[in-house]
Symmetry: none
DNA sequence: AGGAAACCTTAATATAAACTTACAGCTTGA
DNA sequence: TCAAGCTGTAAGTTTATATTAAGGTTTCCT
């Protein structure tokens, strides 16, 4: 499990990082606070530890930026502990709040509890997604329709998964592109179009037309 | 959402129950502490609030009993607050820990955060705005009226959203135009008129006339 | 009532977003 | 090392939708 640490106090950052590694977690520490989003997109961590007081923008700001694109579990750290701070943290999309100074044992226990809550269902979670007769096998990237099946490439699979996960909701092209190519922001806009076309072609070959709808100027939707 | 409260102090139990109900939660309060498992099985709550100090068996015991059969989210309450208590709570399968005495705001915030995390599908329940029978779906840009529906383009959607957000208030044409076209101040005044017309046409097709009223010289209003 | 803003209607036109098709660089594995 | 399939690029095309244009209403003030 990979944990991203956003904390400007070097002592705390190192201590937390070291302890987490001792516990077998992989850590990603933010050093340049202008690069938070890029680092997040690059590493796609399983959990984020976020200090509230940071240089320039604060932890709440970065939380809401991350929440625009991800539901990653997040624990706030802060030396203040009025009820308002706690309520604020939760309302911004945080999952827990720990007051500094804290015992590492407590942090570890809370991280474990939150990871268990977030990812445990994954084991029992069904290995397929279904919508309107199309079954997407998450294990091997196959799509089924009736008795016909087809294999998707990595990119096609990724696109279909994100669209099916958001069925009934318009997913913008930039959101898909960010999710596919992280911060390699030099990939052509058209690359997505081509991949969508390839995916659609396979769906049509299975006898499924109009599965992905284009919302011009807005994105794509499965409904 | 149904919340089970396991707390022997009558004052706290009632206060928590009352507040939760004020927030729209259904509550199940334990009165007979030999019946915890039966009540749990009967009601199948979405979340459990568990005091640690209870008559006969303590909260940890009941937590582990419940964990044998369910992954229901659980928040512990206790007046003690050594790191050990917190760590213990988490390790027993709890999701959070609140020290007594606590602010109800904090409890509510933690409950909401935990429910959000556990039943994340709640977030996918569609976000809408409603006024006078017209429902605007913010996630797929559709408008509904009774059983009829219509799809909006990006511009139409933007206009309707800004008008519904300001329902009962006159929104000036310049305000709408600035919001739509930012600083491209070279777009024709009439462009807005045409888009309003198209939007109205779709509303009429749904059987809704006079939804957007023109206030000559002032702007448009939905009332 | 008369006139002029302000706004509406309809239809033609322009445009940017998305699509199609073809191709070439890679990777992978036989 | 060569074939097969994946992936991104390029160039040209289509199309949904915004914009323009031109003439028609409504509203409101004197």
């Amino acid at each position: 499990m990979k944990i991203m640490i956003v904390e400007d106090d070097l002592t705390i950052r190192d201590m937390v990082g070291e302890t987490l590694e001792k516990w077998g977690f992989e850590t990603v520490k933010i050093e340049d606070f202008d690069q938070i989003m890029q680092v997040f997109l690059n590493h796609d961590p399983h959990l984020v530890i976020m200090d509230i007081n940071l240089p320039s923008f604060d932890g709440f700001y970065w939380c809401s930026k991350i929440r625009e694109i991800s539901k990653v579990p997040m624990i706030f750290l802060s030396s203040r502990d009025t009820p308002m701070d706690i309520v604020m943290s939760m309302n911004m999309g945080g999952d827990d709040y720990i007051q500094k100074p804290f015992h590492m044992d407590v942090l570890i226990a809370k991280i474990n509890a939150l990871l268990r809550r977030t990812y445990s269902y994954m084991e029992t979670q069904s290995q397929t997604m279904e919508h309107d007769g199309i079954i997407l096998n998450l294990e091997n990237g196959e799509i089924l329709h009736g008795d016909r099946k087809s294999e998707l490439t990595k990119t096609e699979f990724h696109i279909l998964k994100i669209l099916m996960k958001n069925k009934g909701i318009i997913v913008s092209r930039t959101k898909i592109m960010r999710s596919l190519w992280k911060n390699e922001n030099f990939v052509d806009e058209n690359t997505l179009t081509v991949n969508i076309a390839r995916l659609r072609k396979k769906l049509v070959e299975l006898g499924k037309e109009h599965f992905i709808t284009t919302k011009k100027g807005q994105g794509y939707i499965i409904q």
